[in-house]
Amino acid sequence: MTQCSVHRRREHRVRRAVLALCVALLATCATACRRKAPADALSHGRLVVFAAASLREVFTRLGSDFEQAHPGVEVTFNFAGTQELRSQVEHGAAVDVFASADARHMDALLRDARVLDPVIFAGNEPVIVVSREAAQRVRTLAELPAAERIVLGAPEVPIGRYTVTLLDRANRTLGADFRARVEARVVSRELNVRQVLAKVSLGEAQAGIVYRTDALTAGASVTVVAIPSELNVVAEYPIAVAAGAPNPELARAWVALVLSPAGRGALAQAGFGTPRAGASP
């Protein structure tokens, strides 16, 4: 017998085995899928939640509540910048729920029919954080230009866009050159809120503008100066079930938890504002 024919026979055997395996897999899948009735969809499986980085603490806490309420369910989070998450969703990531820190990214996904019925579930307002040594120097928004080194978000990221809007509004009440006076002190335009916060809490910058929820995580290393509400912009956080969610039942249950009194309580504790129930973006 030649080596070649042995080789070919072995190949046939392998091919037959692979085929059999495929058929078996299909069969199990078919029965399993038929067995998966909506009634027990909430008692097993994996819920994948994509959420803006600022939601990490609250969502992690709600996640363990959710797993306790639905034994057998595992909640997996992907926390990142909203733009990154949007890209991942657009490239077909298997996601059940998407919670965004920026209504614009959610709107874009809604236009592509990648999410269903977004709801605003939280608001986050920009505040000024001041380093320890500049605490006496900057006590109000009007005193912001007195800081020697200011760090802001880049205009491309949501916090930077809100900052530009509120500084423009402040021009009307605090003098036409207010924004220019602030920007003359800017030493860096950071790509995310945590970078702004890190630089102020390390004392490299004297002041920065971040979300209230982030400012709360820095503890005593920074002082928080509120921005007058008539000038401020509130960042709206929409949440939605993904159109191709592998686990739509669990996804809806998660959204319900976030909108429930318990969810709103956890959000409020972390510094988020919670909007009237049922507001749509």
């Binding site: 910048g81 860096s188 004392g203």
Partner: protein
């Protein structure tokens, strides 16, 4: 060995090698394919590109000069030193390559920052290197030097000790042995290490963002500009990445060509 076996072994090696080549090349190809010529034009005319490209070329040239200037003597010493302490120090030099870049940036702030280790000692308290172009160069040196030092050390180790001995016997002073004999003989290793180290500092992102910040024309290098653009429009970021890839590929090809020439020159001599 039979002809069949030989073919099989050669084929196996080729499949393994080409498999990795494909894995490395395909994402770059995909990046090019996903970017239309008009998007590339928009990307190139994006206001962030010019200043960022200039700053990247300036800072990476400076950091390469520092890495080569200080790294070559260090590598020469490491290659000649023996003992456990020397091996421990050699490993220490490799550490910055392992530290995640953002943490490296924090570490640099904790060293050279306003409240850093060296504050009040190497410079007056309350001043800082952060947010300056110097900080960009320092971040690049920190993350890229290990690649050069490693390559240069192995380059020096490959030199035939007899050649160095001959030079010494003829009365050459240590500095002369180093500069006239060791460096020319290790040139291929030095060039290859320099290229690796330069490529690493061109792509450097995390430590720069943390230590130097992100300000156009001052600390915003090309990778930072790409990430900034990505936040508003990922297509512009793709186009900018193609610029980065093209610049890097051209310069690395140039180094290859130089390497080939040095090797040829070495054989001729």
């Amino acid at each position: 060995m039979s002809a069949g076996r030989l073919r099989l072994e050669r084929g196996g090696l080729a499949v393994a090698g080409w498999g990795l080549l494909g894995f490395l090349a395909l994402p770059v190809v995909a990046l090019f394919l996903a970017t239309s010529p008009s998007a590339l034009r928009d990307g190139l005319s994006h206001p962030l590109v010019g200043p960022a490209l200039r700053l990247s070329l300036l800072t990476t040239s400076l950091s390469l000069a520092i890495v080569v200037g200080l790294g070559t003597p260090l590598a020469w010493w490491l290659a000649n030193a023996s003992g456990r302490a020397a091996r421990a120090l050699e490993t220490l030099v490799q550490l910055p390559a392992v530290i995640p870049p953002a943490v490296a940036g924090v570490a640099l702030l904790l060293t050279f920052g306003r409240r850093g280790l060296l504050a009040g000692w190497a410079y007056p308290t309350g001043s800082s290197l952060a947010f300056s172009t110097t900080a960009v160069v320092l971040a690049e040196v920190f993350v890229s030097a290990p690649y050069f030092v490693q390559a240069a050390t192995s380059g020096f180790r490959r030199i035939d000790p007899k050649l160095l001995l001959v030079a010494r016997t003829f009365g050459a002073a240590p500095l002369r042995v180093f500069s006239r004999v060791a460096v020319p003989l290790a040139a291929p290793g030095l060039l290859a290490g320099g290229a690796m180290s330069w490529a690493r500092s061109l792509g450097e992102f995390g430590a720069t963002l943390m230590f130097a910040g992100n300000l156009e024309g001052r600390t915003q290098t090309l990778p930072l500009a790409i990430y900034t653009a990505f936040e508003s429009d990922s297509r512009v970021a793709q186009a900018l990445s193609i610029v980065l890839v093209a610049v890097a590929y051209t310069l690395l090809l140039l180094v290859r060509w130089l390497l080939a020439r040095t090797a040829a020159g070495g054989e001729a001599a």
